[in-house]
Amino acid sequence: MRHIFISLLLAIPAAASAQSGRINIDIPPSLAAKAAESVDVNLDGAMLRLAAKFLSDDESEEHNVREMVRKLDGIYVRSYEFDEEGAYDRSFLANIRAQLGSDWKRIVTVQSRRSDNVEIYAQPRGETIAGLVILSAEPRELTIVNIVGPIDLDKLASLEGQFGIPRMTRRSKHE
């Protein structure tokens, strides 16, 4: 009974943070130590607004990003590259999925045994999205992105390549 009570107490903050769109995306230090390349980006609301100030208000692309970022509560990115295939246990991703409550919807799934697996989860709230989680697991690469706050899906693509968020769409040859 005591254990159940303690587990419930521990689960409440995790559930509360998942409801707000924020989840814990930190990978175990032992796994992070194996990575040959690692990128950690932590931008909470205050830091995002400050980072947004570095974006120009004049250029249309940067203006879109700036407008979107102003409303966000956080962008968190963890990206790891390993020297060998299978250096990380994909079951780790189950811990992240477990944090996503019933109010999270999986909107994109790409599965492949050989190459990358991508899952995108969104937390709808009314007509907008309150949070987004992107899990990208390649044999040698693991990327987890958590965007917290009201997200305009039309403008979401403008965040590609900004704040450590990897590019998801392929660029045309002319670009």
């Binding site: 909470d44 830091m47 400050l50 120009s56």
Partner: protein, 192 residues
């Protein structure tokens, strides 16, 4: 004000020699107690300000010591940097309110754990941390808001084949972004 005017000891002290003045001032007076308290409070406040300023500087210095402790790394003295810092603190060019810049030479690997441990105690937040075991490159940016417009950033960029740079800057992001994006300033920035 009336207390000061009616204070007989202060009126009399105007006609005393310096030595006598000191003796007269040291004598207990019914009005001196509040002044003494104020002086003590003022002294404590000034000490606290100096202590706080010293702590901030000590933080940056302890960061530098961590880099200096890395094998094969030594500090490069940049002439005139203190003068440049003073000028920046007065003029605030392009939204930069203060900066401290130190360059290190050396081709060793950098272990950033101690560096980040110090930053963790300073109230700064990690914004970006990039580490590469393959190339040995490390880039770390920690920041914290200072007031509503300013941000204090600590940046470390280490490349085993190049210099290591540690920078602390207090900047107004909006002004800096505006200056950088201004097409009139672009050629100057590129030249730098």
């Amino acid at each position: 004000m009336s207390k000061r005017l009616c204070n007989p000891s202060s009126a009399a002290s105007r006609h005393l020699l310096p030595r006598e003045k000191a003796v007269a001032n040291s004598a207990p007076s019914p009005w001196g107690e509040g002044g003494a308290k104020r002086r003590v409070r003022g002294g404590v406040a000034i000490s606290l300000i100096f202590f706080a300023a010293g702590t901030v500087r000590a933080d940056f210095n302890s960061l530098l010591r961590v880099v200096e402790r890395q094998p094969g790394m030594h500090r490069v003295w940049t002439p005139g940097i203190s003068l440049a810092r003073l000028a920046v603190r007065i003029v605030h060019p392009e939204g930069v309110h203060d900066f401290q810049l130190v360059v290190f030479e050396g081709s060793g690997r950098f272990d950033g754990r101690d560096f980040e441990a110090i930053l963790r105690t300073s109230g700064d937040q990690p914004m970006v941390q990039v580490h590469s075991k393959r190339t040995g490159e490390t880039a770390v940016i920690w920041a914290r808001p200072v007031g509503s417009d300013l941000v204090e950033m600590v940046l470390l960029a280490h490349d085993p084949n190049d210099n290591t740079v540690v920078l602390r800057a207090v900047i107004n992001g909006e002004t800096l972004a505006r200056e950088i994006s201004d097409p009139r300033h672009a050629p100057q920035i590129t030249q730098r």
